[in-house]
């Protein structure tokens, strides 16, 4: 599905002609991410992060498959095999650091991609399905990242596994049996490590599958754009290739500069020193925190310190943490304003920036020790988080007076120039 003015694939020679008749793969790629996919001409750099996320997935799969050739998923030797990778395997140190920091990079670009969606309301009709699939991808990423962090079998790995599987123990009645079933034992051990490795290898390919659905769903209405005004005519679009392949290529270059700077000059900056201590089931590290990308959600988990009516504090924290992401599934129906872009929504825009600050505050508290004033701050910030999605967003949508929208993407780019109007309307030409 595409706009009627999309370029048509024309096989260049006999071989591609032959291939196009048997398996039209080049045609598929041409229409998906080539010159056959017309894209709004006004996309800004916030639209780079989808491609960057895709790049990160490939980076993680390539480095991960290679690391799996040297890693041993056995509680007795897992830690040593990671040290073997770091010290003995040719380039092992670089591959492992590339994979560990690649996970952080993946989350950086995905968070920017998600916040792009928040600001430009990319989740609104007709693009709800793209958004829903995106949330599914994010949940799968979280599961994959968590299980990957367990594999080195250091102190943080072990206690991370214990705390996160302990979340399931909060479910009334069936919680503890579920926890033992997930771990294959009473505490994280060999059985848990093995299954986490198996699933950590599998899930990235599941993610790749859901990404295909995500892009498939994207190609039905086509990409959104910073004005939020739908494409009307050919002059509103440019072909994806070479225009956005070039722009994404530039973005990729900038991304790689930053990524390599961290990889080569601060490869442990985002990690925890405690994870270089082998797992010890009898001693919990003094300060256990998950990786930085889970901090906002971890802060919400820890915000519940006393029972809430008849719900125990522990269960409440777990429910709140999961709800913090599940609420995103309802976003297309919570934000009822017909205007998409935050550029034309003065009130929404202010609350968007407040939400960004709120999530940064939650992130900071999630990484801090579980003591005052951080507990109190996380409680207030968690409350605001849910208030934003469940109350503020629907309310703002109903009372806000949006600013006037441009007539078309072309007009937004070129102004109300005569030539722009002529280009915008082929019938007048």
């Amino acid at each position: 599905m595409s706009f009627p003015w999309a370029n048509e694939y024309k096989p260049g020679n006999g071989l591609t002609q032959w291939l196009d008749e048997k398996l039209p793969l080049p045609r598929f790629v041409y229409n998906a991410v080539g010159a056959g996919y017309p894209v709004p001409r006004n996309l800004n750099y916030m639209w780079n992060f989808g491609v960057l996320a895709g790049f990160c997935l490939v980076l993680q799969i390539v480095t991960g498959v290679v690391l799996a050739m040297h890693y041993a998923a056995n509680a007795g030797v897992a830690f040593d095999s990671v040290e073997h990778i770091m010290r003995d395997v040719n380039w092992g140190w670089m591959l492992r650091y590339a994979h560990a920091n690649g996970a952080s990079a993946f989350f950086v670009v995905v968070y920017l991609h998600i916040f792009r969606g928040f600001f430009y309301s990319s989740y609104k009709a007709p693009r709800e399905m793209i958004w829903l699939l995106g949330v599914v991808i994010f949940l799968l990423m979280m599961a994959t990242a968590f299980m990957g962090y367990v594999l080195p079998w250091g102190q943080m790995s072990f206690w991370g596994a214990k705390v996160i599987t302990g979340l399931f123990g909060a479910i009334p009645l069936i919680g503890v049996p579920i926890q033992e079933w997930l771990l294959g034992g009473f505490a994280p051990d060999n059985a848990a490590l093995n299954r986490f490795f198996s699933l950590h290898f599998l899930l990235p390919f599941v993610i790749a599958g859901v990404i295909i659905l995500h892009i498939w769903a994207l190609h039905i209405p086509g990409s959104s754009n910073p004005t939020g005004v739908e494409v009307k005519t050919k002059s509103d679009t440019v072909p994806f290739h070479p225009y956005y392949t070039a722009k994404d290529g530039f973005g990729l270059g900038v991304f790689l500069l930053i990524y390599c700077a961290v990889l080569f000059f601060g490869p442990n900056a985002l990690g925890h020193p405690d994870n270089y201590i082998p797992a010890n089931p009898l001693s919990t590290p003094a300060h256990i925190v998950p990786e930085w990308y889970f901090w906002p959600f971890y802060a919400i988990l820890r915000a519940f310190t006393s029972d809430f009516f008849f719900i125990p504090a522990k269960l409440m924290g777990v429910l709140a943490m999961f709800s913090a992401i599940l609420v995103w599934f309802f976003l297309p129906w919570l934000d009822t304003s017909p205007v998409r872009s935050g550029h034309y929504r003065p009130l929404f825009r202010k609350f968007f920036y407040l939400l960004v600050i709120d999530i940064l505050v939650l992130g900071y508290c999630g990484g801090a020790p579980a003591a005052e004033p951080f507990v109190m701050i996380s409680q207030l910030a968690s409350m605001y988080y849910f208030l934003h999605f469940l109350v503020i967003l629907p309310l703002v949508s109903s009372i806000e007076k949006p600013e006037p929208l441009p007539f078309s993407i072309t007009e937004a780019v070129l102004g109300k120039d005569e030539s722009a109007v002529l280009n915008a309307n082929p019938a007048a030409a």
Partner: protein
């Protein structure tokens, strides 16, 4: 020919139950039950295996633990705290108004008759499973003199009952019995 015509009647008129309907439903049901049965081993393989379950009891010599001391033992790959309470700690635990507790239990209910000084609990915080401090020499015991979990700040008293913080339950008392005056069998 006459027989064939009578069979075809229901097919052509589209009325009543056809033999083919029965075959369709039977075949799909049979395949469905078979497919569902395959889920059982796939789910069950995730549960603790026989060798993990075989570690279900441990015998520990407690003769060397003097009053006020505690040790950390291992039961099912998880820490167990065995604590010899001092008379002061016992009276502190007994003085507490049980109805004011989050998980109301008396010290008597949490220990064996005549052995009130032996407090045997899992060393697993009931919040998210960290190992609380307080059993080792010189570790922080928290403001109620029992155990303190450094992860999220849960405090337990001298009967290992939850007094403060996010943990919902008292430290779990495992099934155990005294094999003799100096040996305790856990599990």
């Amino acid at each position: 020919m006459a027989d064939e015509a009578s069979i075809d009647t229901s097919v052509t008129t589209g009325e009543g139950v056809r033999r083919r309907d029965f075959i369709n439903i039977a075949a799909v049901s049979f395949a469905g039950v078979g497919g569902a049965a395959v889920i059982l081993p796939l789910v069950s393989q995730m549960a603790p295996s026989a060798d993990v379950l075989a570690e279900s009891s441990t015998e520990i010599d407690i003769s060397a633990i003097t009053p006020g001391q505690a040790i950390k033992a291992v039961f099912r790959k998880q820490p167990v705290f065995i604590r010899n309470l001092t008379p002061a700690e016992i009276s502190a635990a007994e003085k507490v108004d049980v109805s004011s507790l989050r998980d109301p239990q008396t010290l008597e209910e949490r220990t064996k008759e005549g052995k009130t000084n032996w407090l045997i609990t899992m060393g697993v915080c009931t919040h998210l499973g960290c190992v609380p401090l307080g059993a080792g020499e010189g570790e922080v015991k928290g403001e109620f003199g029992g155990y303190f979990c450094p992860c999220h700040g849960s405090s337990y008293d001298t009967a290992a009952r939850i007094r403060k913080g996010p943990a919902p339950k008292n430290l779990e008392v495992p099934t155990y019995e005294f094999s003799s005056d100096t040996v305790v069998k856990i599990g």
